[in-house]
Assembly symmetry: C2
Amino acid sequence: MSPLDDPSVRPLRVAVLGAGIVGIEVLRLLQEEREDLAQRVGAPLEVIGISVRDRGKDRGEHVDPSLLTEDAEALVREADLVVELMGGIEPARTLLLEAMRGGASVVTANKALLAQDGVELYEAADAAGVDLHFEAAVAGAIPLVRPIRESLAGDRIQRVLGIVNGTTNYILDAMTRTGADFAAALARAQELGYAEADPTADVEGLDAAAKASILASLAFHTRVGIQDVHVEGITSVSADDIAAAHRLGRVIKLLSIVERIDDGVEAGGERVSARVYPAMIPLSHPLASVAEAYNAVFVEADAAGSLMFYGQGAGGAPTASAVLGDLVSVARQRMHGGKGPRESHYAELPIVPIEELRSGFYVALTVADQPGVLAAVAGILSSHGISIATIHQEPLVEGPEAGAVHAERAEGSPSRDPRARIGIVTHVASESSMSTALDDLSTTAAVVTIDSVLRVEGE
Amino acid sequence: MSPLDDPSVRPLRVAVLGAGIVGIEVLRLLQEEREDLAQRVGAPLEVIGISVRDRGKDRGEHVDPSLLTEDAEALVREADLVVELMGGIEPARTLLLEAMRGGASVVTANKALLAQDGVELYEAADAAGVDLHFEAAVAGAIPLVRPIRESLAGDRIQRVLGIVNGTTNYILDAMTRTGADFAAALARAQELGYAEADPTADVEGLDAAAKASILASLAFHTRVGIQDVHVEGITSVSADDIAAAHRLGRVIKLLSIVERIDDGVEAGGERVSARVYPAMIPLSHPLASVAEAYNAVFVEADAAGSLMFYGQGAGGAPTASAVLGDLVSVARQRMHGGKGPRESHYAELPIVPIEELRSGFYVALTVADQPGVLAAVAGILSSHGISIATIHQEPLVEGPEAGAVHAERAEGSPSRDPRARIGIVTHVASESSMSTALDDLSTTAAVVTIDSVLRVEGE
């Protein structure tokens, strides 16, 4: 007999907070898969209310208007299971804490909240003996939280490296395919719905950083807040950088990297690094072919080796799939009186400051096109212990546009000197060496501008 | 305080059945990660015994000889958690059933047992209220069972398609890279430890079929035994086939495909197909680049879209990683008095017979090199409703070896007629149409031999 037809089975009472794109898809799936979900859980999932800011708005056929409420607090008090899809910090944080204290298990897709207040939420779940699941908060439909939290629970994760923001991947991919500059590619992404009207959280890397903070906490059993993540976005990636990457057999991707670093006991033992920045990776790297708004993540663990996960990182239906998977898990636990995996931060590894990290670098300079400049630049890098892998110099032929841009600056100069562009790829060097080398370069007379500094990863 | 130092925490008693390559790695990780595992579980995991067939054999530093026993039955009676790594059907089946009846939760990597007696085991776990986990049984370290069982529990899976046998992928990859024939590539794989001395289970597709049966059961909530899986191995894949695939911009991979098929209410509604066979796939398909002994699996679900999982599908350490992940899960459930996901077969979808399936085909024929043969072949295919995508004919230049092989046959003939090879790629056609067309071709005078028939997938 189906649990839907069994009068002795009490339905589980589900509160849905928020009815945006993901919320509507969740409600659609709860309706369309009603029978299958009841079989998988062992009891029907009954939506008892949907909290929204404005009850009057039409939300289509899958949102029963009679379930809409503007009183989220009253709603969560009645629920066994709370699905939070409102986003933002408040009132989501307070509602979830109250829901858990009241004995409800929680499923959330709210990465910003987890990145800021994850520890408080995990501890509240633990104290109340309820479940807190958040697969949808990282890489949408791609199962990533569950594999890291559970499948690799007996292994030692060394590194998670991936593309976890679809908007920026769409923009960088478009720049690579079409040669467009950042502004044009962003405008196109906005037209197509891949970027929001205010794209700050995506293009400045903040969304990717929130996800990096969640991944680092899970992978290393250590509190890593968003303030611990070094973040650089993609707004300064130029069409020139994309073209230079192409010439170098590379492509530029916004990477989220979280890493266990062990420089030995004297250097402090095991530490954790979490960072987000655009980086050049070789065309042969599997992440290089991740196109459009897709996400892909590598996980490297001692015993498991390298694992890759690939799929849609955003969008209503994919995100709803992840939410429903979590909802079935917490509902099953509820039926069996148990509790799923909990977060722990027993390792409490220190965070490595960005200055101590090491990577390859790509540096682009505009210099005076005169003898000895290349040698001077190479000498400065060398004096900081930075060794050069490849170096490329070509005269800068300024077109009418470039001429216009430089016109003001040229006015003050008695004459327009010829200029050249130097592109350098270095071997692995420390951030601090590179930083002081860049200071020296910027005060070198022959160096007109430092146009770009990008990390080189995945070699 | 660490659970290792807390006298009020009772350790969980773990029995390990089997101390082969995977067992030794599991024991190593249980030792080396002892502190972390205790933190993640909330209690120490204490190995109380290791059952082996021969106590005398030396198994290295990670296997404490004082824990070895030849009495597996007595061992499982004392355990909270049983890890089964002995393989084979008996005595593994009886031991696991007894362990579960006695209240122990079970982690197993035994795909053959699950494919044959999975339903009995799942029901025993349910009846006893214990957990049965088996991530390591499919695709080694790659989290696949947990994502399908849990992450996608709120979604509707349509298809799982992948490379789940490392040995055959190694052999086909070697044939593709070096031009070697099957026998030479197999011998090399055996030398390197990628294939066993008796390679039957791998090269005949039985291992992949066991995994397909497990994946189909999970994905479609339907009993799919190994007898329901259509299986063809790779022993008849020739160097000619590999070369032909290359000319056609394709590569040959052993695919496991499980699929939900809905031909409408009149045709019986939703049904399930599970099959394993070598197939040509385009070079541009992501599975085409899966090299050596790696595994990769695509999962297509309604809401989540396409997901891909990639990693090491076999080997001691990767398999042990999956076993330990499961062990932590069942141990956590044990600590919290709950029970994890259970298998259900409520959907009970019928199995589609292979004859009713449809795909593209590659057919290679040796024919008499005379006018009209190609038209005759095309006519036969057309008369069975099979339309041709590409066709290629070339004279067969028989070298000294080919001459020797054909010598016997030639003795009976008055003269050696010139021959040609025809290679055909068809559009999608049904297995039954292709089967009758092949019957007709085999009785056509101008057709000397049907050399190969391969499916074409992933277009």
